[in-house]
């Protein structure tokens, strides 16, 4: 049973929110944003929030749904995710659509400050505008949680946020759009899901010394993933990647977490499966598989890194 996504909602203010949702639905009905295939804007937003993995980072075990506070331990310091419930003071309830779009696609706070790229706006920059707005509509509909944000714990030289302008100049380029020219619609959809929404590459790609993704090694795995864990190569390389898996194997893995050799996923990927990939439609999972299996096989990204840097702690 999927964990970590449960909406620990109080019944307080539920009535008010139902009323608010109704108003939102009326806005949709009025044609502000056309809802595809009969699904409502809120349903689409909820689906996109799952696909984009928002709750993986923005929900802490000890806090409310999407109320933030989860510690992300990275080589650059510890980031505490913010509250993205519609609470007007502690969350993002007071944001306009323009502010939300700017945050998601340009990594800018309403006050103009830069967000650290622990927030994967480099990926979300590839999201379609109407999808970002559907996410906002859904986030506006969930129960607000009065939980103040916690300051990040970073070394002094990273506390200077304007320095991120340079970082963005180097690394912020929308990826989802990169697949726009793909003639295969399924692969195009898969690229959008993998790159713009689920942001698989944020963990599965090695980073350079400035923390930017090394594009030539995208999805090739890294020995220095979140929480210091190794993250596997997910390109179809037969030796070091998932080249021996069939499309069906990968699809089944994304649905259930079971690898072809009978191992059940653990760690961060278990959460991704619970909160993201198992919640997608079968077609979307298959689109992701089709795209991932079409990636260029990267040989050895993890191994070469390991040789230099890793020492087996058990060798005493």
């Amino acid at each position: 049973m999927p964990q970590g996504f449960s909406r620990k909602e109080g019944t307080i203010a539920a009535g008010w929110y139902r009323a608010r949702n109704f108003v939102l639905l009326c806005v949709v009905a009025a044609g502000a944003v056309p809802a595809a295939r009969g699904e409502s804007l809120l349903e689409r937003g909820e689906y996109l929030v799952a696909a984009a993995g928002c709750s993986n980072c923005h929900t802490d075990e000890n806090g409310g749904f999407l109320a933030g506070g989860r510690a992300l331990n990275t080589p650059y310091g510890t980031f505490y995710t913010p509250n993205i419930t519609p609470h007007r003071e502690y969350g993002i309830g007071a944001w306009t659509e323009a502010e939300f779009l700017r945050a998601m696609k340009a990594g800018l706070a309403p006050d103009g400050g830069n967000y650290y790229p622990a927030f994967p706006y480099v990926a979300y920059a590839g999201m379609r505008r109407e999808d970002v707005l559907a996410v906002k509509a859904y986030l506006d509909s969930i129960p607000p949680v009065a939980r103040p944000n916690r300051r990040h714990r970073l070394p002094w030289y990273l506390r200077f946020r304007p320095g991120l302008w340079l970082w963005k100049f180097l690394y912020l380029a929308p990826r989802g759009a990169g697949a726009a020219g793909d003639p295969d619609p399924e692969r195009r959809r898969g690229a959008y899901l993998v790159n713009a929404l689920a942001h698989c590459g944020e963990c599965h790609t090695p980073r350079d010394w400035l923390g930017g993704l090394i594009e030539s090694q995208r999805h090739g795995g890294t020995a220095h993933g979140p929480d210091g864990e190794a993250v596997p190569n997910i390109t179809p390389d037969r030796q070091n990647g998932i080249g021996k898996w069939s499309d069906g194997d990968l699809s089944f893995y994304l649905e259930t977490g079971l690898t072809p050799d009978g191992d059940a996923a653990g760690g961060a990927m278990a959460e991704v499966i619970d909160n993201v990939t198992s919640r997608l439609t079968k077609q979307d999972r298959q689109a992701m598989v089709r795209y991932v299996m079409s990636l260029p096989a990267i040989e050895n990204a993890l191994k070469t890194k390991r040789k230099k840097t890793r020492r087996d702690p058990d060798e005493y």
Binding site: P232, T256, A264, A265, A270
Partner: protein, 154 residues
């Protein structure tokens, strides 16, 4: 030079700290870990085989109950594979198994229940039911691996 001295003396201290329990630990802990890994691999083997049947890839439906029962048999006593202080050495078992013993007990119970439900569905030979129960069982494996197993080093 000084740096080298510092690191090497630090190394010696570390070695002393690490080697001491390693020698007094005896073979038993290592043997338990090896046994545990053998059991887990056999569970994985049966699960991999069952998955092929459940996914309709192969036609060995007669063997499904055998695989299911083998998994269930191992899960009956899964906690006994983790006696205290067996998180030392070549293992991915996390300290949380002992520091959050109640939670570990709970996920073990859930896994046992899910496995049993899969056995029942396999025996009833109800295709739709055993696929669902199989997924629920894998979910329970994942729930435990998520919090109590170190992520795989590749």
């Amino acid at each position: 030079m000084i740096h080298n001295l510092k690191t090497s003396s630090l190394g010696i201290c570390l070695l002393a700290v690490v080697a001491l329990p390693a020698t007094t630990m005896g073979a038993e802990t290592e043997d338990i870990i090896k046994y545990r890994q053998g059991v887990m691999k056999s569970v994985g083997g049966h699960t991999a085989a069952a998955a092929q049947i459940v996914r309709g890839k192969v036609d060995y439906a007669d063997d499904l109950v055998y695989h299911a029962e083998s998994i269930a048999r191992s899960m009956q006593t899964v906690e006994s594979l983790f006696p205290k202080d067996t998180d030392f050495g070549e293992t991915r078992a996390l300290d949380a198994i002992w520091s959050q013993a109640d939670k570990f007990k709970q996920v073990s119970e859930e896994s046992r229940a899910a496995t049993k439900a899969f056995v029942d569905a396999a025996k009833a030979n109800d295709k739709a039911a055993f696929a669902a129960k199989f997924k629920a069982m894998v979910d329970s494996c994942k729930a435990c691996h998520k919090d109590f197993r170190e992520k795989k080093e590749q």
